[in-house]
């Protein structure tokens, strides 16, 4: 039994024209208040709430609430609110793109059919590309194009999968699927591309650092986590996801270790943490799915803080390179405090949020006797120190720069609403860690979890301390260098360059040549006709009567000659030698 309620995602969509048209002050009020109002509305909605409509013969369900969807939607709304406050002074174009993107992501968390999922999926791809293009870096347009290309590829796979699924009599309802045919394989591939799975893990680190400081807040929270949500909803327990997730976890660690761009370090850290979630989806039991839900929420919160910190450093200094940053802690004390809290949360230090979420994922690996996966996840948990944990904060805020940069004088801490944007998520990182039972009750499946046992706390320090010691001793090795790292996007770029030069450009050259030939011959033909039949053409002139008589006589004479040649008498006459 469902009753009609307006979907929260549609409310956010409705705000987009208002953001574009209302006076700036009113639009800023929307940025500051609407996501919180929608959050309250989301939790007020009854479980039976629904919203259905018919479109092109399909029954679309745009409101279908689940416990997992509510938590994902809440995290999206908090990130949208924080991102909106951080984008307070940005252009309306960025606000509209961000809200369209957030509305599409929010709609996915509570849509109940595959057709609607595809519509919102594609809308998200386009809006997020516009958001990438808000950056003002030299490589931004090309990075946006690569991002769009990857996501449209994912969209095409998803569309193919959904079409195949429906053609084979599958239900359009969003529900658990099994990887038994090509259609479900295509749907899974479409989801995995958005999650940053191999071989497309590169797009996260390629696109996000090219966006504007505030746009990355939305980007880091929405795309990959939406993919995790649909994976958990449709493909929980699909074993292939375990190795895929482990690859992502390791990939994120290895690439972040020597990276110079601090926002790219955070992007690699996203892939690393999404890897944890994908492994948990692959395990697929109740503990694992609780772990995925809580870890996604927690990850969005602490990553929002870290991305805002990186954005503040970028705004203050004009640089996001580790070689040009450092020593900002004294200039940005509030940002530094929040960054330390978020970094502690990312490492899973007791009393912070990740401590209670990551333990659920490790517990599910233990319960399923996945020894290899458990060992790799423990090692990757420790290695978070090398990316979002300590290295990011060290490079951005605490490292003594090689030479005192000039911009330090202008660097100022966040003020006003931007303090709320970074402070509230940092506070939530602590609140979730300090009162875990409050949040455990909101999870999709009821279970009894007790993270604050002496064994678990000491075990967590045993995981983190070797990594911290290693980081401390290997600091010179981890110092930033002004280099970039090649990724699998090298292949894509080469392929694009090759297809551009040897495909598109050559085809264009041939087409142009062909056009030239056709045009030249057309012009020549026209000139010929004009010369003969034009107003002054040879056949259009008036001729003298004498000349006409001469020509007529000549034509008649030639006729007589030809006729005579045919006649036998003349033939004989010629042979007789006259």
């Amino acid at each position: 039994m469902t009753s009609n309620f307006f979907p929260p995602g549609l409310i956010l969509f409705a705000a987009v024209p208002a953001l574009a048209l209302l006076p700036r002050r009113a639009a800023q009020c929307i940025l500051g208040l609407l996501p919180l109002a929608i959050l309250a509305y989301l939790w007020w909605l009854p479980d039976s709430a629904g919203f259905e409509l018919r479109l092109a013969g399909f029954e679309l369900r745009w409101l279908h609430l689940s416990a997992m969807g509510r938590l994902f939607a809440s995290a999206f709304l908090i990130a949208t609110w924080a991102g909106g406050l951080f984008a307070w002074g940005e252009k309306r174009r960025e606000w509209c793109s961000a809200y369209t993107y957030a509305a599409a992501a929010l709609s996915i968390t509570h849509c109940g059919d595959l057709i609607s999922l595809f519509i919102f999926w594609e809308l998200m791809a386009v809006a997020s590309t516009l958001l990438v293009w808000t950056g003002s870096f030299r490589g931004t347009p090309a990075a946006g194009m690569r991002y769009l290309l990857v996501h449209l590829t994912g969209g095409v796979l998803l569309m193919g999968g959904i079409a195949g699924h429906l053609l084979h009599g599958g239900s359009p309802t969003m529900q658990a699927m099994e990887l038994t045919n090509v259609s479900s394989g295509l749907i899974l591939a479409g989801f995995l591309i958005n999650a940053g799975a191999p071989p497309f893990s590169f797009w996260v680190a390629d696109a996000y650092p090219h966006s504007s400081p505030s746009a990355m807040v939305f980007l880091s929270a929405l795309t990959t986590k939406t993919a995790v949500f649909v994976l958990a909803y449709c493909f929980a327990g699909t074993a292939i996801l375990i190795p895929v997730g482990l690859y992502m976890a390791i990939y994120g660690v290895i690439y972040a270790l020597r990276e110079n761009n601090v926002r790219r370090i955070l992007a690699y850290s996203i892939v690393n943490q999404v890897g944890f979630m994908v492994v948990a989806v692959g395990i697929g039991d109740e503990t694992a799915l609780n772990g995925v839900t809580l870890h996604a929420l927690v990850h969005i919160l602490y990553k929002t803080v870290l991305v805002i910190a990186a954005g503040t450093a970028l705004r203050a200094t004009g640089s996001q390179l580790g070689t040009q940053l450092g020593g900002l802690a004294s200039r940005l004390p509030f940002v530094s405090l929040c960054t330390v809290i978020a970094a502690a949360a990312s490492m899973g230090i007791p009393l912070t949020s990740s401590f209670i979420s990551k333990s659920l994922i490790l517990q599910s690996a233990t319960e399923h006797h996945l020894a290899g996966a458990w060992i790799i996840l423990v090692a990757c948990s420790a290695a978070v120190v090398f990316n979002a944990g300590i290295r990011f904060a060290w490079l951005t805020l605490f490292r003594t720069p090689d030479s005192p940069p000039r911009w330090q004088e202008n660097a100022t801490d966040v003020i006003g609403f931007q303090r709320l944007a970074i402070g509230v998520p940092a506070f939530l990182c602590l609140a979730i860690g300090c009162a875990p039972q409050l949040f455990y009750h909101l999870l999709p499946y009821q279970g009894s979890y007790h993270p604050y046992t002496a064994v678990h706390i000491i075990e967590q320090f045993q995981i983190l301390l070797p990594a911290i010691v290693l980081f401390w001793l290997a600091r010179p090795l981890l110092a930033p260098r002004p280099l970039i790292q090649l990724d699998t996007d090298w292949l894509l770029r080469k392929l694009l360059l090759f297809s551009w030069q040897d495909g598109v450009l050559r085809l264009l050259y041939i087409t142009l040549n062909l056009r030239d030939v056709i045009l030249t011959s057309s012009v020549r033909s026209f000139k010929f006709l004009f010369r003969h039949y034009g107003p002054r053409g040879i056949l259009a002139r008036s001729w003298p009567t004498g000349s006409i008589a001469l020509w007529v006589a000549l034509i008649l004479a030639s006729y007589v000659v030809l006729y005579s040649l045919q006649s036998r008498s003349l033939w004989q006459f010629v042979h007789s030698g006259f």
Binding site: W374, P466, I484
Partner: protein, 72 residues
């Protein structure tokens, strides 16, 4: 002074590490492994991070390029 503080931090970190190691005999780890060797989690974390560092250092010269690599 800087060097001294660096040494102090190193000693402090190693001290805490030693403390967690001393607590090991009283800990009962819940792991998926059939046998649980002494300081299992510490070993996995330490060796894991060492391997990550080594792999990053080995592949770094192969995949690192100048910042203007793609511009050319």
């Amino acid at each position: 002074m800087n060097r001294l503080s660096s040494r102090t931090v190193t000693r402090l970190l190693l001290g805490i590490l030693l403390l967690t190691l001393l607590a090991e005999p009283w800990l009962h780890h819940h792991t998926p492994l059939s046998a649980s060797p002494f300081a299992l989690v510490l070993l996995i974390s330490g060796f894991g991070c060492l391997i990550f560092l080594a792999v990053a250092c080995i592949i770094s010269p192969l995949i690192s390029r100048r910042e203007d690599y793609y511009d050319q």
